[in-house]
C-alpha cells in the first residue's frame, strides 16, 4: 500500500462523523417545521443552512479522501506531496468547522447552499486548488498511460470543482445573476464534477474488488464521463427556466436534461458487467457492505436522480412542480441517494482496508444500511405526496400557502418519520465505524503512521483457503489445526498492532 492511502483515512473518518451529525440536525429541523412552538435551541434558518451545507461538504470530503486513496493506486505511485494531503485535510476540516459554527451563530449570507461568509468560501476554493495541484503534479509524474480513464476522470472532475466554484465566492446585486452563479455549484458540482470524480473512484474500486479487466471497462468509463460532461453542464438550464433569462433555456435545459439519464445507464451497465454472482459470494464482509452501498447508490441514480429528474425537467411539467416539495424529494434522492451512498461505500472500503471490524459489528452495519434506505424511501415518498398536494391545492385550485400547509401536514409527519429512521441508520453506522476505528485513532491522525502489516483482504483470502482445506482433507486435520492456530495469532497480532 502507498503511504498516500494511509493519509486518506482521516478524510473518510471525518466524512462519516459529519454524516452522523447531518441526520441528527436534519431531524431536528423536520420536527421544528411541524411544531414551531417547541422551542428548538437551534433557530430553523440556522439549522436548515447547517443541513444544506453539511450535505454538500461531507460527500465532498469523503470523495476527496477517496481520490487520495484511489488516485495513487491508479497512477501506481505516491502523491507528489504527502504533506499537502495532511495540510489539505486540516484546511478543509478547519474551514468546514468554521462554516458550520458560524452558521449556527447566525452568520448567514442568505444564499441557499452558499450561506457561508465569503472568506470561508475563499478558503474552500483554496482547499480545492491544493487538491488539484497535488493531483495534476502526480498525474504528470506518473508512468501510467496518460489516457487512463480513471485518472482523467478524477483530474477533470477536480479541476471543474474550482472553475464553477469561483463565481460564487461573492454574491451579486441582480437576483437573476445570483441564481445563474448559484447553480454552477448546486447543479454542476453534483451532476458533473462529483459525477466524474465518483465514476473514476467507483471504477478504480470495482477493478480492485471484482478483479474485472481494465480494458473491459475503459471504453465504458469514457462513454460515461463524456455523456456526464455533455449533458451535465448545459442541463443546468433546467434550473434557469424561471429566473429571468431568455426562453431558449427551456429548449436547452429540457433537451440536455433528458440526456442526463444516459450516463446513469452506462454507469449501471459498467457496474453490472463487472460483477458476477460467484464474485459476490466470494466477497469479504467488508466488500459485501461496500457493494450493497454501491447498489443502493445505483438504484437512486436510476430512479431518484435519473427518471424523476427527467420528468421534472420537462418544461410544461416543471412550470407546476417547481418550487414544491417534489423538488425537495428529488434533491434528497439524488444528493444523498446517489452521492451519499457512493461516498459511504468508498469510505467504508477505505477505512476497513487494514483495520479489522469485528464480525458482530457487521450485523449492525446491515441494520444501519437497511434503516438508511427505509428512511430515505419514506422521506422521498412523504415529500413526493406533499409536493403533489402542494401542486394541486396551491397551483391548480389556488389556495393560499398557509391553507396548503395545513393539508400537507400529515405527509410532512411521514417525512419526519423517514428522517427519524434515517437518523437511526446514520448514527448507528457512524457509531460502528468510529468504534471500529477507535483503537487506531492516533495512528490515523499521525502523518507518517502505519496501521498494520496485514491487509484485511489477505486475511479474508487466507481464512477462505483454510476453511476449504479443512472441509476437503480430514486426514491432514492436525496439520491444518496448527495452521489455524498460527492464523489466529496473526489476527491477534494485527488487532493489537
Amino acid at each position: 500500500m502507498f503511504r498516500s492511502q494511509h493519509l486518506s483515512y482521516k478524510y473518510a473518518l471525518f466524512a462519516y462523523f459529519l454524516f452522523g451529525l447531518q441526520g441528527l440536525v436534519a431531524s431536528g429541523g423536520a420536527i421544528d417545521l411541524l411544531f414551531p412552538d417547541l422551542g428548538n435551541p437551534i433557530p430553523f434558518a440556522s439549522g436548515r443552512a447547517f443541513h444544506l451545507n453539511v450535505s454538500i461538504y461531507w460527500p465532498l470530503i469523503g470523495m476527496i479522501g477517496a481520490m487520495y486513496f484511489f488516485f495513487c493506486q491508479e497512477a501506481e505511485r505516491e502523491f507528489y506531496s504527502l504533506k499537502l494531503i495532511t495540510i489539505n485535510f486540516w484546511m478543509l476540516a478547519g474551514t468546514l468547522g468554521l462554516i458550520l459554527g458560524s452558521l449556527l451563530l447566525g452568520f448567514n449570507e442568505g444564499r441557499e447552499y452558499l450561506e457561508a461568509i465569503w472568506p470561508l468560501k475563499l478558503a474552500t476554493a483554496a482547499c480545492t486548488i491544493l487538491l488539484c495541484f497535488n493531483l495534476l503534479t502526480t498525474y504528470l509524474a506518473s508512468d501510467m498511460p496518460r489516457s487512463r480513464a480513471t485518472l482523467i476522470s478524477m483530474v477533470t472532475g477536480s479541476v471543474t470543482l474550482i472553475i464553477f466554484y469561483v463565481p460564487n465566492i461573492v454574491s451579486y446585486a441582480h437576483p437573476t445573476v445570483d441564481e445563474i452563479a448559484k447553480f454552477m455549484v448546486v447543479h454542476i458540482w453534483e451532476e458533473m464534477s462529483l459525477e466524474l470524480i465518483g465514476t473514476g473512484v467507483l471504477a478504480a474500486l470495482l477493478i480492485q474488488v471484482t478483479k474485472v479487466k481494465r480494458q473491459a471497462v475503459e471504453t465504458a468509463i469514457y462513454l460515461d464521463i463524456t455523456f456526464a460532461v455533455l449533458a451535465g453542464i448545459i442541463a443546468t438550464g433546467h434550473h434557469y427556466y424561471w429566473i429571468g433569462v431568455p426562453s431558449y433555456w427551456l429548449w436547452l435545459g429540457g433537451t440536455f436534461s433528458a440526456m442526463q439519464v444516459l450516463p446513469a445507464i452506462v454507469l449501471l451497465y459498467t457496474t453490472v458487467k463487472s460483477i458476477t454472482f460467484k464474485g459476490i459470494s466470494d466477497l469479504s464482509y467488508r466488500d459485501k457492505i461496500t457493494m450493497f452501498l454501491i447498489g443502493s447508490s445505483m438504484f437512486y441514480h436510476i430512479f431518484g436522480a435519473g427518471f424523476l429528474g427527467f420528468l421534472m425537467a420537462y418544461p410544461p411539467l416543471n412550470r407546476y412542480v417547481h418550487g414544491t416539495y417534489i423538488t425537495s424529494a428529488h434533491s434528497h434522492l439524488a444528493l444523498f441517494g446517489v452521492f451519499g451512498f457512493l461516498v459511504l461505500a468508498v469510505c467504508f472500503h477505505i477505512l476497513f482496508t487494514e483495520i479489522i471490524l469485528g464480525k458482530k459489528m457487521y450485523r449492525w452495519c446491515w441494520g444501519a444500511i437497511i434503516s438508511l434506505n427505509a428512511g430515505l424511501l419514506t422521506m422521498g415518498l412523504g415529500l413526493l405526496i406533499a409536493g403533489g398536494l402542494q401542486v394541486y391545492f396551491w397551483r391548480v385550485i389556488g389556495l393560499s400557502i398557509g391553507e396548503t400547509n395545513e393539508f400537507i401536514r400529515p405527509y410532512l409527519f411521514i417525512r419526519a418519520f423517514g428522517g427519524f429512521l434515517y437518523a437511526i441508520g446514520s448514527l448507528t453506522l457512524t457509531f460502528v465505524v468510529i468504534k471500529g476505528i477507535w483503537p487506531k485513532i492516533q495512528v490515523i491522525f499521525q502523518s507518517e503512521g502505519r496501521l498494520s502489516i496485514v491487509k484485511c483482504d489477505d486475511l479474508h483470502r487466507m481464512h477462505g483457503l483454510v476453511e476449504e482445506l479443512l472441509q476437503e482433507e480430514k486426514k491432514i486435520e492436525p496439520l491444518l489445526k496448527r495452521i489455524q492456530v498460527l492464523y489466529q495469532r496473526l489476527l491477534f497480532f494485527n488487532k493489537e498492532k
Binding site: G110, S147, P246, I401
Partner: protein
C-alpha cells in the same frame, strides 16, 4: 493521444464554451439595472436568511411560499403590514414571522417590486381554477 481522450477533452471544452456563451447572451443587454433601494432590500433579505423558508424564482425553502410576485399579490401596504406587524406562523400558537423595522420593510418592498418586474415567463403560474380578478398594485 488516445481517440477517446480526444473526444472527451473536446466535449469538456466545447460544453464549457457553449455554456459560457449562452450565459453571456442571456445577461448582456437583457438585465435591467437594480435600483439602489432594491439592492439594500436584497441585502436585508439575505441577512435575515429569508430564503431558508421562502422561495424566490421557486428556489429556497418550500414552507413559506414563493415571493417572486409577492409585490403584485399583496401590494406595498399589505407587505408593510405583514413585515412590521408579523402574524403567527402557519401551524404556530406563539411563534411569529420575523419582525422588520419600517426602514427595513421599505427596502425589502423595493426589492420585491424589482423582483416582480423581472420578465420570467410569468412564473409562478396563475392557479388553473383561479377565477378571481388579480389584485391591483397599490
Amino acid at each position: 493521444m488516445q481517440f477517446s481522450l480526444k473526444i472527451f477533452l473536446a466535449t469538456v471544452f466545447l460544453s464549457i464554451a457553449v455554456f459560457a456563451f449562452v450565459i453571456y447572451d442571456s445577461m448582456a443587454g437583457n438585465l435591467q439595472n437594480v435600483p439602489s433601494e432594491a439592492v439594500k432590500g436584497k441585502m436585508i433579505f439575505q441577512k435575515k436568511a429569508c430564503i431558508e423558508c421562502h422561495t424566490v424564482f421557486g428556489n429556497g425553502g418550500y414552507y413559506g411560499g414563493d415571493l417572486t410576485k409577492a409585490y403584485k399579490k399583496f401590494g406595498s401596504n399589505g407587505l408593510r403590514e405583514y413585515l412590521t406587524q408579523p402574524p403567527l406562523l402557519s401551524g404556530a400558537k406563539k411563534k411569529r414571522h420575523i419582525y422588520l423595522s419600517n426602514e427595513e420593510a421599505e427596502e425589502i418592498i423595493a426589492y420585491f417590486r424589482f423582483l416582480q418586474s423581472i420578465p420570467n415567463m410569468d412564473w409562478p403560474p396563475r392557479p388553473v381554477y383561479d377565477k378571481k380578478e388579480e389584485p391591483r398594485v397599490k
